[in-house]
Amino acid sequence: MDIHSLPMHRIHDLLESRQIGAVETVLAFLERISSIDPEVNAYLATFGEKATEEAKLFDSGARQFSASPIAGTPIAIKDVICMRGTSTTCGSRILQGFVSPYDATVTEKLRRAGSIFLGKTNLDEFAMGSSTENSAYLKTRNPWDIGRVPGGSSGGSAAAVAAGLCAGALGTDTGGSIRQPSSFCGVVGLKPTYGRVSRFGLVAFASSLDQIGPITRDVEDAALLLQAIAGYDPADSTSVDLPVPDYRAGLKQPIEGLRLGIPRQYFIEGTHPEVEKAVREAIATCKNLGATIVDISLPHTEYGIAAYYIIAPAEASSNLARYDGVKYGHRAQNSADLMDMYRKSRSEGFGSEVKRRIMLGTYVLSAGYYEAYYKKASQVRTLIGRDFLEAFEKCDAIVAPVSPIPAFRLGEKSEDPLQMYLSDVFTLPASLAGIPGISVPCGFTSENLPIGLQILGPHFREDLVLRIANQFEQATDFHLKNPEVKGGGKCK
């Protein structure tokens, strides 16, 4: 039995019934990390010793597997989420050496749920990117094809789950950063409703869009991991005080009679034919499961990219102002004066994509441009939100591709930011609207690259999105396929 290829709920069952030990489990993952991760580059840091210590507490009975349905399972955290006493780099040189003095709310919740943290995963610097090539430290590779990107910005978490380097992981999604890498890596990734999960301790990229969510091997795990982190947090004024349903309990309900909307704007020229084919077949599967398929329109879809690339950089330009070399992180040496220190520290500390977005954001917020750009983009955002509200009068959920293309080659798009931005066309609108969305495996290209199906639901209907995803997953076997990563020879 390969522990590393099992979903969290299965590992938890085995742990609880004492068929395997917690230390044994952690060691299995650590061993796999040391053999496979030099190929994949999913992790920026691992906490082998600490994780083993934690696991011992479970084996000795000091901690109970009954703490939660995921207690004792080892997971990975995207390195943009704070964990007390460990480094949080955000994939940036400017935060090199920064050790967080506090726990993010999600980290604290997972500690209570009994999670064992294996390490922090790689990402595009400050979560800005769609390929995980923008990290200052590593380029993460796609476990299905080492020559290709895992997607981004949560590429480290998605690749780690796909390659069996952790049982599950947390990612963050600002414009598709959970869903797109999950689709590229053939795993399940859920972006919750904006406000469902506390952002306290998530290093901000674009505050009005960022959400933390699970990246897992199957839908049931996504439900369990979401359950552990969801809920109102008084420390985050944008988190919403609504009851959290029992997500796992809802999974088994059939989707018969549900109306699934197919947005015509999501089936456009330029979409990879094999992607379109797989998504069409997935829609047919849903129909076979009893769902009604309805044609819908989201007329402002095409403005999503423009609105997103004004709002997100605007917020980022302000959010990243605190990295100034004064308090923590990188400070340039031999500066002539204060202005020189700011300029040098930030020039040396930030990578080019981050600089590009800071400049973009600074520009659109400038006096004289604010109305034409930021204000306008905010209005477009309202219209995109309205598109979804109107669509959800005609359907219960929306089904579409996650990305128009499967995983691309390393370096293929890194010289052309616009091409990179365009690959987010189907994930950005849901982020702008703040609605929940999931990516669930729905096929493979002829080159054996995973394809993801995106399911979007109304605000706070993660239960519905998970239920549809689960019913689809149970009717198919794409999630059971694993990539073959050749490591140091120890694993298959």
Binding site: I81, C82, T88, C90, L95, F98, S100, P101, Y102, A104, R199, F200, G201, L202, V203, A204, A206, S207, S208, P234, A235, D236, S237, T238, A314, E315, S317, S318, L320, A321, R322, Y323, D324, V326, K327, Y328, L338, Y342, T362, L365, S366, A367, Y370, Y374
Partner: protein, 477 residues
């Protein structure tokens, strides 16, 4: 040509909440550097602000007291700029949608008549930290204890016509802040700060000249002096036909001049935008009603009540309500000694003279209202004379002792005993036969001499009225 100044003030007032505006840290002044801080006010990666509702409540108080309109929904915005005392690289303030707009404040104008200064807006924001520069090494240190202490900014319309009016407006604002118990109003310690916009225009015309922003005036005196200097400077510029530059100038209190800080072309573009970390603040009528019902009595209302209830002259009422503490002192004294006018006289003359002389505020007065009332009771019931009462008061002020104990210790009780005074009169008459005969021959003025002699014999304790009566009777008899 005659010019008239056009002045507007921006007043920053630190609110006296227990904790900071967006985190739970203490707002106490003067802790060792960076001890009143947490990840949130330090601007650590990943932290989020949570609004302290008390700050909104305090701001509503000020808005109500200055007749402002309170917005049902207001928003926080980010003011972006780099400075080491600003850990997030932006200050959370309000921009497009402030909490309050369109109010006014009644002040005493230059000519003594009442003037109404319109208030443009009042908004909430967070304070920045402090830089401490090393005198010997090329280093600066950052103290972030003050970071996140709540501030309100009160922006007036350019309705102020002179430096005196500016000072008077500033005092009026400070008094309201103190009455509302939301700010210490201590300019020297920085809990209240004031910037000014000032321009000149030909007297009687409606236009506006180029305005200059004046900063760094950290006392009432400096506000007035800074504005006076700036008026003279701008006048000379206009008379020499030199253009006035729109700029920020700093008041240099050491040299008594204003100096240019930065021109408009170097002005910061703060790139304001709504803070996505904070939800819009909703203030409903119920909340406003609640705050209104808990508002303390404000200076204007108190003044009127002092005139009607205590039958005080308007002038007395004005002086006594000029500070909340003074009004409280007066009313506390009144509980023990129910003669408002006599009490008012003593507070306005002896007490305020002694406070001024010792450069003390009423809050630090060594004579409590109860002590003063006791003194006035002794005076009013004739136990001590007016002259002795003043001496006793001075002693009370310097030693902190009670009136009764001073009177007892020094045996200052006024002698009203008829026979005791008569015997003193007899003695004086027999010792001064020459003066007695002169008086009897018609030299009336000598009465003063006799009174003085009798008072000397009784060590000032004889009741002067009785002395007079007995003397007249005996000398004329």
């Amino acid at each position: 040509m005659e010019f008239e100044p056009v002045i507007g003030l921006e007043i920053h007032a630190q609110l006296k909440t227990e904790s900071k505006i967006f985190c739970g840290c203490s707002t106490k002044f003067g802790g060792s550097p960076n001890t009143h801080t947490c990840p949130i006010c330090l601007g650590m990666p990943g932290v989020l602000p949570v609004l302290n509702r008390k700050v909104v409540e305090y701001t509503i108080r000020m808005a109500l007291a200055t007749h402002c309109t309170i917005a049902p929904v207001c928003r926080f915005a980010r003011k972006n700029y780099f400075y080491p005392d600003l850990p997030k690289g932006y200050q959370i303030s309000q921009y497009e949608l402030p909490l309050a707009t369109g109010g006014w404040m009644e002040i005493e104008g230059t000519n003594g008549a009442s003037r109404r200064i319109r208030i443009h807006r009042i908004h909430m924001e967070e304070d920045a930290g402090k830089l401490i520069h090393d005198d010997y090494k090329p280093f600066s240190y950052v103290d972030l204890n003050r970071t996140g202490v709540p501030l309100i900014e009160i922006v007036s319309e350019p309705d102020i016509g002179s430096p005196e009016e500016a000072a008077s407006y500033l005092r009026a604002i400070r008094e309201v802040l103190r009455y509302l118990d939301i700010c210490d109003g201590n300019m020297e310690e920085g809990s209240m700060r004031c910037d000014a916009n000032i321009s000149l225009r030909p007297a009687g015309t409606g236009g506006l000249g180029t305005k200059v922003e004046l900063k760094n005036m950290n006392s009432f005196k400096n506000v007035q002096k800074g504005l006076e200097f700036e008026i003279r400077r701008q006048k000379v510029m206009i008379e020499r036909a030199e253009p006035i530059v729109q700029e920020t100038r700093l008041w240099d209190a050491g040299r008594n001049v204003t100096v240019s800080m930065r021109g408009k072309e170097e002005a910061n573009d703060y790139r304001y935008f709504p803070d996505p970390d904070l939800a819009p603040v909703e203030v409903d009528q119920a909340w406003i009603g609640q705050v209104r019902s808990e508002l303390p009595e404000l200076p204007e209302a108190k003044r009127e009540r002092f005139v009607t209830d205590y039958e005080l002259p308007v002038y007395d009422a004005q002086v006594l309500t000029s500070s909340k503490a003074l009004a409280l002192y007066f009313e506390a004294g009144l509980k023990e000694f129910a003669r408002p006018k006599l009490l008012s006289n003593w507070i306005m003359s002896e007490l305020m003279r002694a406070l001024n002389k010792s450069e003390r505020e009423i809050e630090a007065c060594p004579v409590s209202p109860r002590d003063l009332a006791e003194l006035l009771r002794l005076l009013d019931s004739g136990i001590i004379s007016g002259k002795i009462a003043k001496a006793v008061f001075d002693e009370m002020f310097s030693s902190g002792k009670s009136a009764q104990s001073i009177v007892d210790e020094k045996g200052l009780v006024q002698v009203s005993d008829q026979s005791e005074i008569e015997s003193a009169v007899d003695q004086v008459m027999s010792e001064n036969p020459k003066e007695v005969s002169e008086f009897k021959a018609g030299k009336d003025k000598l009465i003063g001499f006799f009174v003085g002699q009798v008072m000397r014999k009784t060590k000032g304790k004889a009741n002067p009225q009785i002395v007079n009566d007995i003397l007249k009777k005996k000398l004329n008899g």
